[in-house]
Symmetry: C2
Subunit: 395 residues, 2 copies
């Protein structure tokens, strides 16, 4: 059953061979979807026939957002910590412990309900691919449980046992690293595609370069791809370690030296910027222009989590990227779609070209520039095409 | 037909006699609505009977937002101007001319469709009272036409013939002021509750203190209430003029002298801050804490308009107020509800106490603090209670 989507005032394909510029823009476009996959893309005037037709009424269509960094398996509420921070308290990751305590207490059903609610909230805002990390269990059983739940909603699951050193291991970081790289990794690897570590010398709760290297190499040996929470609170070894080990992504990249930028430019690691964190911790933003000028591949993601940034809105991150990091609207949208796909080493999402997944998002606007021009407005929603015969936007 | 609304985890009444603090917070609350009006508010355990019951499922309920500053009658698109500004072009109000040209060209039906779409978009985000200005017609007929359309959707209509000096009056500002205060005012007053003027010495397009005084006093003589676009681009006479003339609100207040703050503190004029403008023009934010410390009544509004700020989201403005202007979440929410009501000299909206309009907004969250804690996420929607027997949230 094929579906012809028409009435697309502006289509972002992210394929320069299909349209204008890096975004591969096509005006007055159409898309044919067949079996959940894009079968044809081009000007509406040249569209082929299809079994059914959906008209989006002169709106812009973009690839669904690819949110490559999110922490969605947790319990508890940290709005009070947020308020304290806005009144002047500093963020150092220490509050993660309160989420760990609540998560360990929570039932599978409670964790699953919260997780599914957040994924649905994201989808209602146009996010069609999301990575989900563990990292609030921090015991063998709780980490495996969180990843098992995450695997119910996405294939992009990340084992983050090395999120922080839990309270019961205070002063015994090496022992905790042995746990993470030993029995915890063994229990979690079956549910995980990726391994990640919070590499941060400036936090008493996180992991230094040697510990991060131990975690990442153990994960690699277990067949997992690599990701790193790198250079969030200070310049440190995270980014260079990520590049050296061939990690798919170095996330945060808020404090970078020239050597860090050179390493990223010379490697295959995507720099994933999370400007919602700087918004919600009132911190200086990463220097996106420096990275783009150096030729680094940049992604945008939410870092949706109950502590440092509880937004689930990729559109908000696009608006912040333009306002605060001086990215163009086109650069920001690319980073939030194709960039996120690159950070997950995926070629089937983040673009709308023949063979890609038919993850279309429709905007309540004639152009993608409205994502930055209209900050905070819920303009985007995922479009279900060809599912149960309905082309109606889901919300 | 009365309706009992239950399942309210946290109710913001904005009436300190009904609950805790300035917000008059009630936990585990209930509200009885009768004939579109709040009939009873209090703890759910003491709620009276009613004809029907609506359960909001453990969510927070707040008074619908009161957006006291918006420009919603226009045609055209200025996303390209937005992009140029993000690339370094300065905002001085000059781009307003392009919207004026498009608005004059547009049919009533086209203007009405855009206006109603924006009002619906606002309502979908929890805004239940909105002020709408003219100011993109700038001829006698076009200003009257815009206000006639605005009056179809809100009683809070504002005549802003003195938005900019239109191109055909370039170099003849005094003649244009004569038109505004003469035939244009006569044609517009029947459709307007308020008169407003863009008082800004720093813009070649706007009105200096003498011109603003002429506009405001003419409006007052015609029976209109007064509002002023004041001190947006530079410190100038706008704020002091607003206070001197007893205006309901001085809007923007981005550049204030000590004398301006003293005047506001000693008068009855609300300082309406529009942080979406500073976000979308990449400008320094107003100093809200200075105003609050001086005892000034502060409101928040969107300034939704196609040029300097095209957000329609009061929740986004609340998040900006907390992040960028160091208001607490409680101060920001009060300013976006009761503050907006004060800026419109309304006592029937912006609060949920017996006798107030039953403009309830329900949050996809347990507490109002999530408006700041979860920036960019569409958490708020207006709740239709007792309309056509349905309590289902509208979107």
């Amino acid at each position: 059953m094929s579906t012809l989507v028409t009435g697309i005032a502006e289509l972002v394909t992210n394929d320069p061979s299909l349209g204008d510029g890096q975004l591969g823009l096509v005006s007055e476009a159409a898309v044919v979807v067949d079996g959940g996959t894009v079968a044809w893309v081009g000007p509406a005037a040249r569209a082929p026939e299809a079994d059914e037709r959906v008209d989006v009424g002169g709106r812009a269509v973009i690839p669904g957002f690819v949110d490559s960094h999110a922490h969605l398996v947790f319990a508890g509420d940290r709005s009070a910590e947020f308020e304290a921070r806005m009144s002047g308290a500093r963020y150092d990751g220490g509050g993660i412990g309160s989420t760990v305590a609540a998560t360990r207490e929570a039932s599978d059903d409670a964790l699953r309900a919260r997780l599914r609610s957040l994924v649905a909230e994201m989808r209602g805002q146009g996010t069609t691919t999301v990575e989900v990390k563990s990292g609030y269990g921090l015991t063998v059983d709780d980490e495996a449980r969180c990843l098992r739940l995450a695997a119910e909603v996405t294939p992009e699951t990340t084992f983050l046992g090395a999120h922080v050193v839990p309270a019961e291991y205070a002063g015994r970081r090496d022992e905790y690293v042995d746990l993470v790289t030993g029995p915890m990794l063994a229990a979690c690897a079956p549910y995980a595609r990726w391994i990640d570590v919070f590499c941060e010398a400036a936090s008493a709760h996180a992991f230094d370069g040697a510990a991060a290297r131990a975690v990442l190499t153990a994960g690699r040996d277990a067949g997992l791809g690599l990701r790193v929470h790198a250079n969030q609170l200070s310049a440190g070894p995270g980014v260079r370690l990520a590049v050296e080990l061939g990690a798919a992504s170095a996330d945060h990249c808020t404090h970078l030296t020239d050597d860090d930028v050179d390493a990223l430019a010379g490697g295959t690691t995507v720099a994933t910027l999370l400007p919602g964190v700087e918004f919600s911790t009132r911190s200086p933003y990463p220097d996106a222009r420096r990275l783009l000028s150096a030729g680094v591949t940049v992604a945008l993601a939410t870092d949706c989590n109950p502590g440092s940034c509880f937004t689930s809105s990729m559109a908000f991150c696009v608006a912040l990227a333009v306002r605060e990091m001086h990215m163009t609207a086109a650069e920001a949208l690319w980073a939030a779609t194709a960039g996120g796909a690159a950070a997950l080493r995926r070629t089937d999402v983040g673009r709308l070209c023949p063979g890609a997944r038919a993850d279309l998002a429709v905007l309540e606007a004639p152009s993608f520039t409205h994502l930055a021009y209209r900050p905070g407005v819920p303009l985007v929603r995922a479009l279900n095409v060809g599912y149960s015969g309905s082309g109606h936007p889901s919300r």
